[in-house]
Amino acid sequence: MHEAWLGMMLWALSLWSGLAVAEGYRMRPRQLRALREALVRMETEIVYGRTALEEIFRRLAAGTSGPLAGFFAEVAEAIAGGTDDLAPAFRQAVERHFPRAHLGREEQAAVSALAEVLGRTDVASQIRHLRLALSALEALEARAREEEARYGRLARAFGFLFGLFLLVLFL
């Protein structure tokens, strides 16, 4: 009898793990898309509004949700706090918030590349660097969508089936 209960619990655990992995695959392209949209908005603010960086990050924080909003808000806070070097604060915010948005090392590298540039140069150069980051994120997003289609369902199915296997083993 105990074995049956244990088997049921292991099955549920395996199922949940599968769903969690699948959720990661599902969320990553969405977060990437939100991130890209935010960077496009940033470009617009820089080119047409000449908006100060702090204000841009505040607006982006208000216009996004979840971990990305936290990331933008943290950078805005760093500027408001009077930091004399934005780059480390920016990179720290990337490392803190991106994993929570299921964004991996490559995404972090693409955005962290902006740390040394953002706000430090003229408009033309800001655009160039933002476009570079955007095209990198675009490629990552395409791959993330592929992976979602390929592995997302697989992870769910694998979690279910492996759990079932354990259940059968214990019964």
Partner: protein, 354 residues
């Protein structure tokens, strides 16, 4: 002629505001050692200019005092023992002053200076990226010349007798050397004309300030950092000639104020304004009154006879004073040099009539 000077020494609400602004905006932007030394120095009087040069000692001008800043807040001629700044210090200071948004100030940096909230002006020098003989941008900033605004209280009152004739406002040019306080005087005159004054039985007038270099009103996000009066519109960053025409066409001003009048286009715009019945107040660079006649740059201005008053300003102990006043044909109405001899009668016969 004690009454003709305007003092910067009195502790007024404006200097108190400036002190607070320096503490809240400027000192946090500077490396801590410089901030501390400046704080010590400011006890005896606010600095006017702070020059940061990468790898060299900090130079400060504060009233009549000038020199290299020591850690305990004194100014000396010796570079040894003075506070020094590194290239990184300059970069960091510039980053904070520009709020990490250099792109937003691109045009201004290309022109060589940026205007910040509170009227702080930062002149920049560095390595230029040039394309087709034109400065495209500055790649690295090596020097910052931070200039704090000097409130000159009473400067407007000082000039009022010269620019009013039978309660009619006269189109006037203020002449002075660079750093001679022209802009400050113009700003205070604008404030006074815009606000009006019971004491002088002066009715407030609608004023348009064409502030191409953001020096007169130092507007940040459309809000003037300086008090330029309640009836004043500021055309911030607008080129002078274009701005004058825009203001006359759209804002219906009684007075247009513009800094550092220069080329033919500016003069044409001034003519447009005058023919529309608008009074023009302007400034030009000049050091000596004689220069008005001899310097080629002034000739078209004088010959055009557009202005009814020329007032030459000079720096004097603790403020700005009037050197001489001329009418439109450059006849002396009053002069400080002759003031003691025949000044009184000249004033009576000239400017001070209404």
């Amino acid at each position: 002629m004690a009454g003709f000077g305007a003092s910067t020494k009195e502790p007024t609400s404006e200097t108190v505001g400036l002190r607070a602004m320096v503490r809240s905006r400027l000192l946090p932007a500077l490396p801590p050692a410089i901030g501390r030394a400046l704080e010590a120095l400011s006890a005896a009087g606010l600095p006017e200019e702070i020059r940061l040069r990468a790898g060299r000692p900090v130079e400060v001008v504060a009233g009549e005092r000038a020199g290299f800043l020591t850690p305990d807040g004194r100014l000396g001629a010796a570079t040894d023992g003075a506070v020094r700044v590194s290239a990184d210090d300059v970069r960091r200071t510039f980053a904070i002053l520009t709020r990490h948004s250099v792109y937003a100030l691109e045009e201004e940096i290309r022109r060589g200076y940026v205007t910040l909230a509170g009227g702080i002006r930062v002149g920049v020098a560095g390595e230029a990226v040039v394309e087709g003989g034109r400065v495209l941008r500055l790649r690295s900033i090596g020097s910052l010349n931070i200039r704090l605004p000097r409130p000159v209280v009473g400067a407007g009152e000082m000039l009022l007798p010269y620019v009013l004739e039978n309660n009619r406002l006269l189109s006037t040019i203020l002449v002075g050397p660079p750093r001679g306080g022209k802009t400050t005087v113009l700003r205070d005159l604008v404030r006074l004309l815009s606000a009006g004054s019971d004491r002088f039985r002066l009715q407030g007038r609608r004023v348009s300030v064409i502030d191409e270099r953001s020096e007169i009103a130092a507007a940040v996000d459309g809000v003037p950092s300086f008090d330029v009066g309640p009836r004043t519109d500021v055309l911030d960053g607008t080129p002078k000639a274009e701005g004058i025409v825009m203001a006359v066409r759209a804002l219906g001003p009684e007075v247009v104020a513009v800094d550092e009048l220069g080329g033919e286009a500016d003069l044409a715009a001034v003519r447009t304004a005058l023919s529309a019945g608008v009074v023009v107040l302007a400034t030009v660079h000049g050091d000596r009154p004689e220069a008005l006649r001899t310097r080629p740059a002034f000739r078209p201005l004088v010959e055009a006879g557009l202005f009814e008053r020329w007032i030459v300003l000079r720096r004097q102990a603790g403020g700005v004073g009037v050197q001489a006043v001329y009418d439109g044909a450059l006849r002396v109405l009053w002069s400080a040099r002759e003031g003691s001899r025949k000044g009184a009668s000249a004033v009576r016969g000239g400017a001070v009539t209404g």
